[in-house]
Structures are given as C-alpha cells and as structure tokens.
C-alpha cells in the first residue's frame, strides 16, 4: 500500500498554491466580497478592472485554463448579451452612431450597458474563481467544523455526485434500450422517441437508490450521537490569512461607504 498516501492523512492537507491553500471559508469571504463590491459599485471602469484582476490572478495561481474556459462563456452570456439588451431598454440623448439608420446607439445606453455588464461579470468572475480554487469536500469540512450539520453536508456532496452518476446511469440505460432494439442513433425525431424509455428507469433508479443509500449510511453510524472525528483535515487558519480577509472586508465596507457617499451626498 502506498505509504505516502496513507501518511498524507496524518498531516494537514497541503496545497501547491498559497491561495488555494487558504481555508475555504476565507476564500469564500474574500471572493464574495470582491464580487459584491462589483454589484455595488456599478461602474464599468471598476468592473472591468476587477475582471482584468481576476484574469491575471487566475494565471498567477496556475488555474488559467479552467478559469478562462468558464469565464469566456459568461462574458458572452452576461457581458455581450446584457450590453446589447440594454441598448433597447435605455433611451438616451447623445447618439454615438446609427445602425443602418434604423437604430441609434446612444452614449447613455452604452455606458449603462457597460456598467451593468461589468458588474455582472465582476460578480460571476469571483464565483468562478471560488469554485476552481476550492474543493466541495473542503468547503463542507470547514462548514462542519463551524457547526453545520453533518447531514446537510452529506446531502450537498451526495447531490453533486448524483448528478455525475446520472450521466453514467443514462449511458447504461441507453445501452440496454439499444440492446432490445430501440433506436437511439440517428436524427432528432429518433432520439426524442428514445428519450422516454430512458427517463423512466433513470428517475426510478435514482429514487429507489435513495432508500437503500440511506439504509447504507445508517449502517455506517451516520446518526451516531457522538462527536465526529475527521480523517482528512485542513490546517487551522493562520494569522496572516485572517488579516488578509479582514483587509478585504474593510475594502468592501469602504467601497460600499464610498458608493453611498456618491449617491446621497454628492447629489
């Protein structure tokens, strides 16, 4: 048996990168604060600067590929789409240019659109960064250590797994329907017809599986009343990490304060 692997449980879990090694709740706090700040300060200069920061940060921590993969989808969805939509809903006066004389793009609408888009991207970028730097099991571990129920943690993690299993189960069911003669390869009509024979066993399998799974978890002393121990542990939060989180929170508070100031005082 791999001794190194077994030994890894005797120490706190280690991560290559300083940020990824932060406590999941610290990461949640930091990234959520930045994300929310983008929603508050709905200014395109801030929003896009933040997005640029995310991109650079993703590269620095070695997660460039997964970040850009998800973020580019969102840029299209939230960014471009919102921007275009806003052109139709906001009416301004300063026309910048015209689309074939049919439609005017105004400065006000453009700015408004950019503000909206950048704040959405500023928020979602932070969320993406969180999920690519944090394993769900680590997050659940931290929450349990803070007192969240063991059952809640199991349900969340098991749900993620169930979704992954769903794909595999669907493939098995599809195979068995193919094997009895139901055509699954071909045009869209054929595939739609094959859908129903697959859906039934898939859902029923998931439901009946749930009963057995809960009995199985019961057999693993899931409901035992004593204090749980953990095989796999994360290091306690070091002081410098706490300081960083504090600074980020202060920054966030300051940005909210600044925004309120600009709205109410400067008006």
């Amino acid at each position: 048996m791999n001794q190194e692997f077994i030994d890894s449980f005797r120490h706190y879990q280690e991560y290559d990168n300083w940020f990824i090694g932060f406590n999941p709740l610290s990461k949640l706090n930091i990234l959520f604060a930045f994300g929310l700040s983008a929603m508050f300060i709905k200014e395109w200069k801030y929003g896009f600067a933040l997005c640029l920061m995310y991109c650079i940060f993703a590269i620095l921590i070695g997660k460039a590929k997964p970040f850009f993969k998800s973020f580019s989808v969102l840029v299209l969805l939230f960014g471009v789409f919102t921007l275009i939509l806003r052109q139709f809903s906001v009416h301004g006066t300063t026309v910048l240019f015209s689309f074939f004389g049919l439609f005017d793009v105004t400065e006000e609408a453009l700015i408004n659109g950019l503000d909206m888009a950048s704040s959405l991207l500023g928020f979602s970028g932070a969320i993406i960064l969180f999920f690519i730097t944090t394993q769900m099991r680590d997050l659940m571990y931290s929450l349990e250590k803070r007192g969240v129920s063991h059952t809640v943690s199991y349900i969340i993690l098991a749900s993620f797994q169930t979704m992954k299993d769903l794909k595999k189960n669907m493939e098995t069911i599809m195979e068995s329907q193919k094997a009895r003669g139901i055509e699954t390869e071909g045009g869209i009509v054929i595939r739609v017809k094959a859908f129903f024979p697959i859906l039934g066993p898939l859902i029923l399998g998931a439901i009946s599986g749930t009963e057995e799974k809960s009995i199985a978890m019961d057999a693993r002393a899931f409901s035992a009343k004593c204090q749980h121990t953990f095989l796999r542990e994360l290091k306690p939060v070091p002081v410098y990490e706490k300081i960083i989180v504090l600074l980020v929170n202060l920054f966030f508070a300051a940005s909210v304060g600044f925004k309120i100031y600009t709205i109410f005082i400067l008006k």
């Binding site: 098995t172 069911i173 195979e175 068995s176 329907q177 193919k178 094997a179 009895r180 003669g181 139901i182 055509e183 699954t184 390869e185 071909g186 129903f196 024979p197 697959i198 859906l199 039934g200 066993p201 029923l204 399998g205 009946s208």
Partner: protein, 271 residues
C-alpha cells in the same frame, strides 16, 4: 447462419484493452456458456456480439453480415441481450406492456404481438404478474420480465448476462425450462454465469475466458477435468466432480448417477 468472431480485439476509449484476439463461431441453436473470473472480458465479449461494442480490430459477423454496417438497435433484432440489471431495461407500468413494447415498436399486427408475447410469457413463467407494475414484483422475477421482453423480439441468438445471480431454486428451474424451450425453437442461447453446477447440467459447450482471451472452448466434461484451464481461469469443478477427483475416480465424472456407478464399481472391486 452463425455468430462469427475473427481475431476480434476490443479496447475502451481510454485505451484499456478488454479483449484480445477472440475467435469463435456460434451456430444456430447452440447452447453455450461463458465462464471465467470477473475482469476476464466476458461481458465485453458478448457486447461485441450485439453491437454495443465495436471491434478495434478483427471482424464481427452475424448472420453473414459485418456488424459495422448496422446500428446496435438493428443488430438486436437478430441478437437479443438481456442485461444483468433488469431495472436498467424495464420502464413500462405493467408487465404485459413491457413484454409487448418491442413488438408494438416494430409495428407488428395485433395477432402477431399476442402470439409472440404469449410464447415469451409462457417460457418465462410470469403469467401471474402480467397486470402488476414491475416495480412491485420481486427483483429476481423482474429479471424474467426483462427476458420475456427480449424474447418477444424473437431473436435468433439470445445473450443472458448472469441470469442465475440471486435466483432461488424455482428461478433456476424456470431458467432451465427456458433453455430447453429455446433449444426447441432453434434459438442459440449464450449465457454468462458463475454457477458451475448449472453450467454442467445445462450446457454442451463451454467457453472459458481469462486475461481478456478465450483459453478453452469445449465440452463440460473436458473443461472441468482440465486442471490447467481451471487454474488459469480461477474456476472450480462442480461438487460431484470434486469428490471424484479427490478419490481419483476415472471417467471425468460430473453427475451424481456417474458417481454412484463409479463408487459401486469401486466397492465391487474391493470385495
């Protein structure tokens, strides 16, 4: 017409090779058992026979045509495959509807549908469950419902993947009756199973698989008395044969009546 595998090898998309160089021919009406340890490649081999898997190399010919020209669903009209887990296959709300599903899918006449289904139901002994929801009947009986549903498609070759697992005495009896019934109809049955007594009693031809290959293809008597093959494949003799082997009795004994004869002879020669 036959199922022919010529130097067939199969590998999963991730590169893992599951079958190497399989060669076999299964004629119409043959009753074949495939045995061997888990991981030997039995299931992947039979999945090659109905198009669920495609050969990475070699030729897979069914009833004279190469399977590469047909979809799995098309091939299944000739080669029926009953999955190990019936719940992956059953989705209708009554047993009768499940059995009738494929004949209806093929748009056969009402008369033909009734004929086929009645036959399938009789062969699998599920008459008393017809109106019930498959989920309300015991799991081992559901296995028979899945078999009936495939039988209703009247394939020329029937593959059963571990039908004996979890079956009680009655279930085994129904399976044995089914095998006889299929023989009568001229349908080839290919069965994967771990039950050696069941194999010895019901199959004239046994294919032994180990390490992704076919290591033996012969009669029960020859295989269960070949120590090398048994060791390589990780299988054991049926109980009566074990007794005969330990006593050093001749004749490659497999069945009780043979043991009786041999023991009486042994006694007689002692006196």
């Amino acid at each position: 017409m036959a199922i022919e595998m010529k130097n067939v090898s199969f590998a999963y998309p991730n590169g893992y090779v599951a079958n190497e160089n399989l060669n076999l021919v299964i004629q119409d009406g043959e009753n074949v058992a495939i045995i061997g340890q888990n991981g030997a490649g039995k299931t992947t081999a039979v999945k090659l026979m109905n198009g669920l898997h495609r050969p990475a190399s070699g030729e897979m010919i069914i009833n004279g045509y190469d399977i590469k020209d047909k979809t799995c669903a098309q091939i299944s009209a000739d080669v029926g495959y009953v999955f190990q887990n019936p719940d992956d296959q059953i989705f209708n709300s009554s047993v009768r509807a499940e059995v009738e599903y494929m004949p209806r899918y093929y748009k056969l006449s009402e008369e033909e549908i009734k004929k086929r289904c009645d036959k399938a139901i009789e062969l699998t002994g599920i008459q008393e469950y017809l109106k019930m929801n498959p989920l309300d009947i015991p799991y081992p009986i559901r296995k028979f419902v899945a078999i009936a549903a495939i039988l209703a498609t009247e394939p020329k070759y029937l593959i059963l993947d571990e039908p004996t697992a979890g079956q009680d005495k009655w279930g085994i009896e129904v399976l044995e009756k089914l095998l006889t019934g299929m023989q009568r109809e001229g349908v080839s049955v290919i069965t994967i199973t771990h039950d050696m007594d069941f194999v010895a009693r019901n199959y004239s031809r046994i294919i032994v698989m180990a390490h992704k290959q076919i290591i033996a293809d012969s009669s029960a008597r020859e295989i269960f008395w070949n120590e090398e093959i048994l060791k390589e494949a990780g299988i054991k003799k049926p109980q009566i044969a074990q007794v005969a082997a330990q006593l050093g009795l001749k004749g490659n004994i497999l069945f009780r009546d043979e043991l009786t004869t041999a023991v009486l002879q042994m006694e007689g020669s002692r006196l």
